[in-house]
Symmetry: C2
Subunit: 349 residues, 2 copies
């Protein structure tokens, strides 16, 4: 897998083989490296962001879309949350290499111009910029009914490493380290093709809350993803922070992106509850599939030296970045296991 590249796809109905084959085919032609006078790409295969050294700065760049969550926004005529998600899906990937977000460009493709939807997307985008402490430096907005159904929302974010901070790649993760997690705000922007299929098949009324909840299901699902920039900023410069991970598509498997040659034993990752459990039961989805598709309650992971657990949690609280919980630890081996749930994953994809 190329640096900073990720396949996202509907896990239902898409053949993984042809997906991987297509990606390999695409990347086969793109090995070119420009002369060093154009900057130097740092090798970080399969990671959250591409890193490049330009002059005296190291930059991180990442690109992502909100995916099929926009279809739910359209069904409910509620666009603000997905506007914020344009920022979220991108800055959280910068946060996962410890880069400080600097500028974002958005890409909005639509079938027809829609001032009402656009105003809401703009409001959400603005909220995301604030939470991600990032400036909008331009964008592309195209009316392309021949290419797009409804509205597609995506963007690209660029970050950098302030003086004295180095990229947090996971290279320093080692057996004995402790895995901390910060809560997610629902499904963020992953797994929506599957979720929407279940909602349709089970004829769920989106205007009513699920049992035990107050918000209507539609609004609960459209909640924008949490932005972990203040968390990353709080811990990324510390020598005791060995790895960071954004739990996006791929679920707990994302941890393997940090280091394939250690084992993440997550005996305290939460069991499915709330909206996660509701969706799991709705689709009779196997736990194995749940934990490799959704974030399962944890949106951002911080791997720290064993002696730094308390200090890290305090720093996060002081930065108003949330209450980190201990999820487990790093041991010898490979892959990810959730022994209390009987789950075991070998690799990332």
């Amino acid at each position: 897998m190329a640096r900073g590249r990720r396949w996202t796809y509907a896990r239902s109905g898409v053949d993984r083989g042809s997906v991987s084959e297509s990606l390999r085919a695409l990347l086969a032609g793109t090995k070119y490296r420009p002369p060093a006078t154009s900057g130097r790409l740092l090798d970080l295969p399969g990671h959250y962001a591409g890193l490049v050294r330009i002059g005296r700065e190291t930059l991180a760049i990442t690109t992502d879309t909100v995916g099929t969550k926009v279809r739910l926004a359209e069904e409910l005529g509620d666009w603000e949350g997905v506007g914020e998600d344009i920022v979220q899906v991108n800055v959280n990937d910068l946060a996962a290499v410890g880069a400080r977000p600097s500028v974002l460009v958005d890409c909005v493709l639509c079938e027809t111009p829609n001032p009402t939807a656009f105003a809401a997307i703009g409001r959400g985008l603005g909220r995301g910029l604030r939470a991600g402490r990032i400036a909008l430096a331009g964008g592309e907005t195209a009316v392309v009914p021949e290419i797009v159904k409804g509205i597609d929302l995506g963007g690209t974010a660029v970050g950098f490493f302030p003086r004295g901070r180095r990229p947090v790649t996971g290279r320093r993760v080692r057996p004995g380290d402790v895995v901390l997690g910060l809560p997610a705000a629902g499904f963020h922007a992953n797994g929506f093709t599957l979720v929407r299929r279940l909602l349709r098949e089970r004829s769920i009324d989106l205007q009513r809350p699920r049992p035990g909840a107050r918000l209507p299901v539609g609004r609960e699902l459209l909640r924008p993803g949490r932005i972990y920039v203040s968390a990353s900023e709080a811990v990324a410069s510390a020598a005791s922070t060995h790895g960071l991970a954004h739990i996006s598509g791929g679920g707990v498997r994302n941890l393997v992106r940090l280091r394939p040659d250690v084992r993440f034993e997550l005996d305290r990752w939460p069991a499915p509850s709330g909206i996660y459990r509701w969706v799991q039961e709705l689709g009779a989805i196997a736990p194995e599939e749940m934990y490799q598709t959704f974030n399962m309650g944890i949106g951002f992971v911080i791997v720290v030296a064993p002696g730094a657990v308390d200090a890290t949690r305090r720093v996060l609280l002081r930065a108003r970045a949330g209450r980190a919980q201990v999820l487990g630890r790093v041991v010898r081996g490979s892959g990810v296991s959730l022994p209390h749930l009987g789950l075991e994953y070998a690799g990332y994809s």
Copy 2:
């Protein structure tokens, strides 16, 4: 218009009023500026790229898609050229502010995985990277049949200003300057919604050449756009280079982006010939519309001090960046005029 932001749309059948209203609505919410410790956005409204100062470097960022040219690629099953265009549409916007391209991320959205198309796109992308002297630093590839028809191709490029070079914004353009132009390779990636509608309405056989041409019309139209990075690199550091422009959607009006308070009198911009003339006659399109929709034979413009014309042309030849022709000059006033064709444009959009 926001920095580095552009609306692209089918000029046929899309209401410009609601398009502008949507864009204004989107941007209304996005005025947030992060603290200076996150980098400093430079004000350059309506220009080709966003500029940001990060630490000791100034970066340029731009994002664009290939647009509806991909539909023609699909009809002909010929994807290599539009793969190259992913790079072209982005690096030419960097070239237009004098930034040296460094890294690109691509965004490929598709309805179904298609290894054959993807391999061709990858080959084209690789050719574009080489011509644009830029590295692929990641990307997003998503199978999203609920959002996309066929394949959508886009990307984001980041460039920088090597030691001693400042952004070329057009601020230094003044009356007396000479406007030089470099040839385009056909329509590049603009105006394809209109072109394709004409091809359909006139039942044009894409496998046959138009009168006077050797290549089949389909292949002629799918030629990738020319990449002007070597041209920009050759002239951007010279004090006599006052402005650069990428002639993309908006045609000759693009020059107004450099400076709204001078007048570009382009009495030697080529009259329609070749594929341009053929399309114009096919659709009985008014010259005014042709020159504000297509590049009309000139893909990149260099505005230089009057004494620097010969030296600039020599430098471009030495850099193998092509033979620049004199298109006209800068005078007092505003807008763009092509007096030999009776054309007059007030502003950019």
